[in-house]
Structure formats: structure tokens, C-alpha cells
């Protein structure tokens, strides 16, 4: 009996460890992007705090020694006093997208800034007019063919009166396929855009996951002809991620294709696939408001029921949140 109990414990531990590794492995690919966050406070003179207003100290840089600044500038006929300039709270974002692509920044899911990446795919954008607190910033990019990246989201705690710099943003590549259905054994072209000369890893899902590597060209374009002889008949998905020196992007959106008995040419992925309820080519607060109106109502707008289950519930809002553009 005791022996059997020991065996049981052994199996339990073995299984526990196996399961932990299994779940860890399944989570490894979730998001590999690493951001660098630095907070730059307004400079404080080294002598600040010695109870003497001297050197480069002023009411704004060292109120402890020099006293508080007047709340407003100017004076009656004397021609203007100093005027206290409150420290500005801002956030500066920099990273990599695709050459000359349009980058859209969202602050708490609403558009805060847009910019264009340079020829090397680098971008920098500043968001001001914010206050100290927790924000959800997100960013996406649209390449020269109008294909949009997945939304990359990062929660940031912004310090009041300081500049928060967020670097190392690497937007996931765009991805498309040349066939919506491919005859088993023929090649399917998997292509898209990322940063110039970045190393692209393409993942094709099947019972076994296949990984292929390809180098992006000077314009960031990449193309891989995948031999579908390796795949079973049925639905498959491809996704890609990019690496440049030490930076690695997260995986792109997954794009689906069928392996079957004939070849059918695919269209380029639609800019907005779902959730654009008022057909303005954006998924934003207007669409959310329309869906929110129909939430849990007995009568139903078919357009707001995104998963077609006959009701507008949290699942429909989750689908909308996935396709969000701001």
C-alpha cells in the first residue's frame, strides 16, 4: 500500500512538472517585445535644500530654498514678472515600424498622435497634455499596401511633471498570403513588411508548427514560398515576427488559408475585417456606442452581433476590441 502511495506521489510530481512546462511553453510566444521605459524629471540643482537660494536655483527648480513661484506672471505697470511655468507631463515613444509607414498612437483607446516612420522604419512621437497616472497606450502601423499591423498595447504609469520615455517599440510585421486556398503540394507565398534587413520568422500552424526564416529587404519587404506538401488538408494559419539586432517584435495577426485540391487567389487582407458598424473604415467609440446601445436588448441589430449568436454581449465587445483602430 505504502509502495503504491509513493508511486502515486511520483506520478503526481512528474505530471505536475510536465504540465507546468507545457503551460509555460504555450505562453512563451505570447509577447516577446521588451520596452525600455525611462522617466526624466525636471533637473534639480545639487545645492537645492541648503536653505539658500543661490547658483542656478530658482523658484521653479528649487522651491524649497527660493519659495514658491507666483501663480501668474506680470505685474501692473512694472512690465512683467517671472511667471511660473508648471512642469509639463508628457510621454515620448520611439521604435521601429516599416519604412515610410503611418503610425497611429492611441491613448486609452483614442487617437492621440500620428506620425510617419523614416526610410529606416524608425519613428518617434511625443504625447503631451496628459496628467500623471496609469494609461493604456497602443500603437499600430499601416504599410504602403494599406495593410495594418496588429495593435500593440502597453500599460504605462506616467509620472506627473516628468517626461516618460518609452523606447524599443517594435511593431509586428504585416502579413498576407497569395492564395486563400492552395492545392496540397503547391507553394503558397507568405509576404509582408517589417523593418529593413530584419530577420523574419514565419510560423505556419498545423498539427506540427513549422518555423521558417527569411530576411527582409532594404524596404522591409519579405516573401517566403512555403511548400504545402508538409501540411494536411484543411484550415491553417500563418503569422510572423521580426528581429533586428537585439530587438524582437511580437507575432503579427494570424492569416488563414486552406490546403485543399485547387488554387484560389487571395485578396489582400481588408483594412477592417469586422466591427466597423457605421462603415467609416474605423473601429472606435462610435462603433462601441452603437453596440453598447444594443447590449442585452431583446430586439437586436444584426450588425452589432459580431459572432452571430443572436445576442449582443461581452464576446461581441471583445471582438470589437481586437479590431480597434481608434
Amino acid at each position: 500500500m505504502m509502495k503504491f502511495f509513493r508511486i502515486n506521489i511520483f506520478f503526481l510530481c512528474l505530471f505536475f512538472l510536465f504540465s507546468i512546462f507545457y503551460f509555460l511553453d504555450s505562453n512563451v510566444n505570447a509577447d516577446t517585445t521588451s520596452l525600455t521605459i525611462t522617466v526624466i524629471q525636471p533637473s534639480v540643482p545639487s545645492s537645492c535644500g541648503d536653505h539658500s537660494c543661490n547658483g542656478s536655483e530658482s523658484c521653479s527648480s528649487c522651491p524649497t530654498d527660493c519659495g514658491a513661484c507666483p501663480s501668474s506672471g506680470g505685474g501692473g505697470g512694472g512690465g512683467g514678472g517671472g511667471g511660473y511655468v508648471a512642469p509639463v507631463t508628457s510621454a515620448v515613444f520611439s521604435g521601429r515600424a516599416y519604412p515610410k509607414s503611418t503610425i497611429t498612437f492611441l491613448k486609452d483607446a483614442q487617437i492621440a498622435a500620428t506620425t510617419i516612420a523614416d526610410a529606416n522604419a524608425n519613428f518617434q512621437v511625443s504625447v503631451s497634455g496628459i496628467s500623471g497616472g496609469n494609461y493604456i497606450f497602443s500603437v499600430y502601423s499601416e504599410n504602403n499596401k494599406g495593410i495594418r499591423s496588429a495593435l500593440l498595447t502597453f500599460p504605462i504609469s506616467v509620472a506627473s511633471g516628468a517626461t516618460t520615455k518609452v523606447g524599443g517599440i517594435f511593431i509586428a510585421p504585416t502579413i498576407a498570403v497569395d492564395k486563400s486556398e492552395v492545392k496540397r503540394g503547391d507553394n503558397i507565398a507568405i509576404f509582408g513588411q517589417s523593418a529593413p534587413d530584419s530577420a523574419i520568422t514565419i510560423s505556419v500552424s498545423s498539427e506540427e508548427e513549422f518555423f521558417r526564416k527569411v530576411q527582409a529587404d532594404q524596404n522591409g519587404a519579405y516573401l517566403y514560398n512555403f511548400d504545402t506538401a508538409l501540411l494536411d488538408i484543411g484550415q491553417h494559419f500563418a503569422k510572423s515576427k521580426a528581429a533586428y539586432v537585439t530587438e524582437v517584435s511580437s507575432f503579427s495577426k494570424a492569416i488563414g488559408f486552406m490546403v485543399g485540391t485547387k488554387n484560389i487567389i487571395a485578396e489582400l487582407p481588408k483594412v477592417i475585417e469586422k466591427s466597423d458598424l457605421n462603415n467609416d473604415k474605423r473601429v472606435n467609440l462610435i462603433d462601441f456606442s452603437i453596440a453598447a446601445y444594443w447590449y442585452k436588448r431583446p430586439s437586436l441589430s444584426a450588425s452589432a452581433d459580431l459572432n452571430g449568436d443572436g445576442k449582443v454581449d461581452l464576446i461581441d465587445f471583445s471582438i470589437m476590441a481586437f479590431y480597434w483602430t481608434g
Binding site: F18, Q110, G132, G133, S138, L285
Partner: protein
Amino acid sequence: MRQSLYKILFAFFLGFMLPQMVFAALMSLDAKTTQVQIGEKFEVNLFINTAQENINAFEGRIIFTKDILNLKDIRDGNTIVNFWVEEPKNQEGTIIFSGITPGGFNGKNGLIFSAIFEAKEVGIAKFEIKDARVLRNDGTGSAATLAVVPLDVVISEGASAEIPIITKVQDTEPPESFVPEVAKDETLFEGKWFVVFATQDKTSGLDHYELKENRQKFLTFFSRWRIAEGPYILQDQELRSYVFVKAVDKAGNERIMEINPQNPLGWYENYENWIIMILLGVVIAYVIRKFLWRR
């Protein structure tokens, strides 16, 4: 033999379920203290730890012992939820909430909202999370495995603690800037034009919105603000009015955003232009009379 089989099955069950529990998203209730006195106010925070999953939708109910507690306030200033489908509100001892974070949230200690309670009677105040659900940011809204952590707070008789449990919020900043948008949809309000708006206040939290519309921009100053909720059906369906939306936070700070009319009035239709012209005419007439008439 049968007993052994049960043991093996039990071992396999534990082996499978325990790791799933370890890697499940966790929705938890937390408070700075779990011991309070009658009359004291304390804050209960609802957090989400996504355990490496990217989660974009959250919902659930918080049930609390309403007989011995007063719910004083709900704060969502620093929430990770960008839009509430159902804003957290007290419904007789239950706070129902559901909301989304476009693009998803992947992290630890993501604040969903905070609730301020006042202890009114001796006892154990229980806070439970019911019907909670979190959905993955995967385009299909698949549900993630979720574990919940309840909270108990012991209320005892005695003098209130000298150190306040709730930090006082000093808020001098207006709500975040926002862009109200005018839209219409055939399925909504019989196809009438409406305006949508949403913002946040990071310090004290948002209190309410007010709105006014007027075809004369400067005369709008004299018209009254109305309490509004989005989507708001515009009175001027010809879209000839200026629309002003005011967001007010719980400390009374305000931010006003303006929408210009899509079909502005012609110059001759605008009273303001006529008023300016008449005033100008009066001034010119006065000048002529005062200075030129003498010559």
C-alpha cells in the same frame, strides 16, 4: 484495485488541474487593511492579473455584505478598462461591471475599479466575485481560465484609527482631453444624428458630462448646460450648431471640448454677424456725428 484506480485518477486530475490554476488569470479583491472600526471608511480594489494572457474584456459582479456596509463611492480614475459597457454601480449590495480594453491588457495588478465603503455595524464584511469572465484579445472573444480571490474585512467597535485608511485625493487637473464625434446609424435612434464622447480623469475620476448646442457660437455662452450621457441625440439634426461637451471630474475640474457645425450658417443667417454690423454702424454713426459733423 478500484481504490488504486481512484488514486491514479486523482493524481492525474491534480496533475492537470493544479498547473492550470497556477497559470489562470486571477481576479482578486484587495484592501489596505482587513480590520476596521465602525464609522471608518476603507477602500476595496478589484485587480486583474492576466498570467501572460492578453485580455481585452472583463465582467462580473461584486457582492458585499450590505447590512453592515455603506458603499460611498466607486473610483475608476486609474482603471485599465478604457470603455465601460456597464459602468460599475451599486445595485442593492451588488456592483455589476463589464468593460473592454482595446488591444488588450497583459500584466499584473491591473486595477479594474476601487470601491469606498463605510463600516456601519460590527461583523465580518464579505466581498465575493461572482459570474466573473475575462476574454482573450484573439478576435473571437474566447474565455480565458479565471480564478477569483474574495476578501473578508472584520468590523469591530472602537475609535477610528488616527491614520486614515483612504488617501485623500488632491485633484487640480481637469479630465483628459478628448474628441467628441458626431455620427449616425440607421439602426439607432431612427437614423438621427448623435454625438459620442468618452474621457477619463486620472486622479479623482470622472463625475459626469454636460452638453449644450447653439447655432450662434458666442451666444452659446448664455445657453444652459444639460447633463448628458453618450450617445446623445442632437437637437439640431441639420448639424448647423456648435456643440460643446463638458467633462467634469469628482473634484469639480472641467474640460470643455467643441465640435464645429458640419453645415455652418451663412453669414447673413448668423445673428452674431448682424449684431456686430449694427454695433459697428452705431460706432461709425457716433464718430461721424461727433467729429465730422462739427466741421
